[in-house]
């Protein structure tokens, strides 16, 4: 059966790129879609060789040897593992590729962790093969940069000593440690994580580095799709969108921005490209509805990234680095924060000279003496804090309508944000307190359940990483607060809010 949906990379970048992109695969590679605004952006940012200096854009940071935007175009750090594993087994590049394909499938890379989105034939189509081959080459190129593999002869591959060490790391210490080792290698070349983390803290000091990318569909702004037929209707949507975005910037960042000019730009572009007609009353082709709405989304995301947050490089590079950072546990990025339309990003790490807190783990030391520390709180010592966040978040989400059980992924978002921890650490904490709960050592009762799994429901859930506790995927949670805990100040506060 043919490919049914995009892979996870596509889905991940769908926020940025919107659905059903017209891509320029031949240029940017088959595993990396690039939306139209980014093409233009790419041309501005990457342009012709030597153009950067003429534009006065600083693409290199400090003494690092590679510019941030030159990141190889894949998201999953586990690709390195499957490459190393394949090279360990085979020398011949074609055989390595065959093994790479099999492992890619086994590790569900480029797929939802819940289920395979792509129902594949035994034999891959040429397009699929090209796509896999592209990713494969990209991973090899980056692995060679870090001396993980080398090419002793044409068509041959061999493990380098760092590659051997890294492979052992994965097998002995697991994925997170493996990713963190890779973080060192990546930072030594790009310093991209530092750039982004420092940018985040700078952009929103009051909210400890939180940045957001609001996305509002016409429906979310109160429009009915069937009533959006003419240029005038789109203009109305654009106007309401601008008002909402201005309000959001004011509310979340405390800045006053007037986006009228930008709005005129996007409308002009739509008319220029023929998607809309100039006459206000003329109808546009309904088939183009999604394309038009996607253009708005792309435009405003690029605007937020480059103009509001002053990120200097392409959207795609930002996307790749943040997703890699998420796997390392130093940045959290999510599209599922409750009661927010869009994506939020915040650091779960700091770049400082030193810290005396034992809740931080040093991942990399920069030439200027500063270090990248991931926030990894000690589970036993911070157990009470976690439980408080869990209970408060639970009552917040339960709201007035809800039943006892709430969506666990939504609660994870609140707790991760509150404690500034990665999803990996959320699982560690939850697993710890859940076991205490089963042993009857907690004052709250936690019930984790497997309701209908996301794989059985809408595609929406396919984008979320599952919560795995005790080796099982869970997706709903109920918490029972015993009477003697009800009067603790934090719980009382949560209950007051809940019953208000």
């Amino acid at each position: 059966m043919a490919r049914q949906r995009g892979n996870l990379q596509d889905i991940w970048s769908a926020f940025m790129n919107g659905p059903k992109l017209r891509t320029t695969r031949s240029r940017y590679g088959p595993d990396c879609r690039c939306p139209t605004p980014s093409v233009q952006q790419w041309q501005v940012t990457y342009g012709q060789p030597g153009m950067y200096h003429r534009l006065g854009v600083h693409l290199m940071r400090n003494n690092s040897s590679k510019p941030i935007h030159s990141v190889r175009r894949f998201y999953f750090l586990e690709y390195f593992y499957i490459l190393l594993k394949s090279v360990e087994k085979y020398k011949d590049k074609n055989k390595v590729f065959d093994s790479f394909k099999i492992l890619k499938k086994q590790h569900r890379l480029g797929e939802s962790k819940y289920k395979s989105l792509v129902v594949e034939d035994e034999n891959l189509s040429k397009t699929q093969l090209d796509r896999y081959r592209y990713t494969f080459e990209q991973v090899i190129d980056e692995a060679k940069d870090y001396r993980l593999v080398r090419e002793p002869a044409l068509g041959k591959l061999a493990l380098g000593e760092p590659g051997r060490r890294l492979l052992r790391r994965y097998e002995e210490n697991g994925l997170l440690e493996f990713n963190q080792s890779l973080c060192k290698l990546m930072e030594s070349k790009y310093e991209a994580f530092r750039y982004i983390i420092e940018l985040l803290y700078k952009m929103n000091e009051s909210k400890s580095g939180l940045i957001f990318f609001p996305v509002y569909s016409p429906r979310q702004l109160g429009f009915d799709r069937s009533q959006i037929r003419t240029t005038a209707d789109i203009t109305d949507y654009a106007a309401r969108l601008v008002t909402q975005l201005e309000a959001d910037i004011q509310k979340y960042l405390g800045q006053e921005k007037y986006l009228g000019k930008e709005n005129a730009k996007i409308l002009a572009k739509l008319i220029e490209s023929g998607l809309l007609k100039k006459e206000r009353k003329s109808e546009f082709s309904q088939e183009k509805y999604n394309v038009i709405i996607k253009r708005f989304r792309d435009f405003w995301i690029t605007y937020f990234l480059q103009d509001v947050y002053s990120y200097k490089y392409s959207l795609t590079s930002f996307d790749i680095w943040t997703y890699r950072a998420k796997q390392i546990g130093i940045i959290q990025a999510t599209e599922f924060f409750p009661n927010f339309y869009g994506r939020i990003i915040y650091p779960t790490s700091v770049v400082v000279e030193s810290t005396s807190s034992t809740d931080f783990k040093s991942l990399y030391r920069y030439p200027d003496g500063k270090r990248l520390y991931a926030h990894e709180p000690n589970v036993e010592q911070n157990q009470d804090k976690f439980i408080d966040c869990l209970v408060n978040g639970y009552f917040d989400l339960r709201g007035r309508y809800m039943s006892y059980f709430i969506n666990l992924s939504a609660l994870r978002e609140l707790v991760c944000y509150n404690m500034k921890i990665s999803e990996h650490f959320f699982e560690r904490f939850l697993e710890h307190v859940y076991r205490l709960n089963l042993a009857g050592e907690l004052k709250i009762g936690i019930s984790l359940e497997v309701d209908r799994l996301p794989e059985e429901t809408t595609a929406m859930y396919l984008k979320q990483e599952p919560v795995t506790i005790d080796g099982r995927k869970r997706n709903i949670i109920a918490i029972d607060v015993t009477k003697d805990r009800l009067h603790e100040p934090t719980i009382e506060k949560a209950l007051t809010l809940w019953t208000a």
Partner: protein, 462 residues
């Protein structure tokens, strides 16, 4: 002047309209907290207001495949699953459905439904949410408690006594009022008034063919051999059960001995409706799940208990979607999958899918609640004060979840009652007030703007 004699400058109103009178309603018919509590006296939440049409499909499947099937056929289905098909299926009316199914069965003890074929009772069992019920023996404790709570032991003893009176004193007239009759039957004074000898009645009872292989300490035989016969009540069964050793003895009691009592009273089957079944496996280890499934299999199908031979108790387990997966392994290992597959590849008679509500169902649901609190003669529009469009809007915004629909309707009606000039609840009223309500909810539910968060830089620098 004396304060007793002084009057206010204006006298009180002689009459004032009721809060919901303008809508032709006695009071707000919708529950403020739509959670089923079968012991409540409030009709809005005890499952009393119920629209059978909404769950007609599910009910008919149960009726066809279970209730109408002859209990005497040992191959009748003994275990059914009512499985929710929607994500976060709570509030979809499963508990209300079960309570009404129980009431429907118990109304004529299934005799009407099965055209006289089966005389069965139904018992509603629900494990507590805290995870106390981890093992099969504690599940059996729950079943016994539910049987006691349903008054079935007293009823069975009463039936035996009635049979005995008819046999020994055929001329004694019995009350038609069932409650009064049962009350009388448990009162010694009543027998004295009617000049009946209790020991003669009990001798007649003890001769019942079904009671012959019961152990002598069985509570029904309490007064046997003594001069003063005591009237057996459910309390006696309770204290007897309490002193039985947990495990095999209690299982034997519930799955063999009690069945004999029920058979003697004329029942030939029973339906145990287990709500929120997932509360059991959620807290079990893999080993506990397998043990549980094995014991269930033994009691239902393969053991030496009377129940496994006759198939007296029929279980309905209510599962949320996804629970089958949680217990699939244990089901496989215990062999239950062969007996009663939990995830069959084809449509099966014993699996009753519990579907999400539709737009028509939402409308029916509101009509049923409104009808229960309508002021007589207040118009024929059954949906009034809601318009059809408003009902669609409520349904959509509540994702067609029954509990959410009821809660939203409650809020809207409260709002409409206090607003002057609002004579009906239209779509625009729903939209306006839903927005307002969401804003209120937003205050309670944190947004990214006011969600608490740690300052990581500060923590690192401390």
């Amino acid at each position: 002047m004396n304060r007793l004699l002084r009057k206010p400058s204006r006298s009180g109103l002689r009459e004032a309209p009721g809060k919901f009178e303008k809508f032709g309603l006695v009071e707000n018919p919708f529950p403020s907290e739509p959670v089923v509590n079968k012991d409540s006296t409030d009709r809005r939440i005890n499952g009393d207001i119920y629209e059978i049409e909404i769950r007609r499909k599910e009910y008919e499947q149960i009726e066809r495949n279970f209730l109408k099937q002859p209990q005497l056929d040992p191959n009748h289905l003994r275990l059914g699953f009512i499985i929710d098909t929607s994500y976060i299926g709570r509030g979809n009316g499963k508990s209300a459905f079960l309570i009404n199914l129980q009431n429907g069965i118990n109304e004529e003890y299934c005799l009407d439904i099965s055209d006289g074929e089966n005389k069965c009772f139904a018992v509603y069992v629900t494990p507590e949410p805290g995870g106390r019920t981890k093992t099969f023996p504690s599940f059996v404790d729950l079943i016994f408690e539910s049987i006691v709570r349903s008054n079935l032991l007293d009823i069975s003893v009463a039936i035996l006594l009635i049979d005995a009176i008819r046999e020994v004193y055929p001329n004694i007239e019995l009350d038609d009022d069932e409650d009064l009759l049962i009350e009388n039957l448990s009162s010694r004074a009543w027998y004295s008034t009617k000049e009946m000898d209790l020991s003669r009645l009990f001798t007649s009872i003890y001769a019942n063919e079904f009671l012959q292989d019961l152990p002598p300490e069985f509570p029904l035989f309490l007064g046997r051999g003594s001069l003063l016969i005591d009237l057996v009540k459910s309390a006696h069964f309770k204290s007897y059960y309490a002193q039985l050793r947990k495990g095999k003895d209690r299982l034997e009691f519930v799955f063999s001995h009690l069945i004999r009592l029920f058979q003697a009273a004329g029942f030939n089957g029973a339906y145990l409706l287990v709500d929120d079944f997932e509360r059991i496996p959620t807290f079990q280890s893999a080993r506990q799940k397998t043990d549980f499934a094995l014991e269930l299999r033994s009691c239902l199908f393969d053991g030496l208990y009377l129940n496994s031979r006759l198939g007296f108790y029929n279980f309905f387990l209510v599962l949320h979607a996804g629970v089958p997966r949680m217990i699939a392994e244990a089901w496989q290992e215990s062999g239950m999958e062969n007996r009663c597959p939990i995830s069959p590849s084809v449509e099966s008679r014993h699996i009753i899918p519990f579907e999400k509500l539709s737009k028509d169902h939402a409308s029916l649901l509101l009509q049923t609640y409104l009808a229960a609190y309508k002021i007589e003669g207040s118009g024929s529009n059954q949906l009034f004060p809601f318009t059809t469009e408003a009902v669609s809007a409520i349904g959509e915004s509540s994702e067609y979840n029954a509990a959410k629909i009821l809660k939203t309707s409650y809020d809207l009606l409260e709002q409409a009652a206090i607003e002057d000039g609002v004579v009906e609840i239209s779509e625009s009223f729903v939209d306006e007030n839903r927005g307002r309500h969401e804003t209120a909810a937003d205050k309670a539910v944190r947004t990214i703007d006011n969600a608490p968060a740690m300052d990581l830089l500060k923590k690192a620098q401390e």
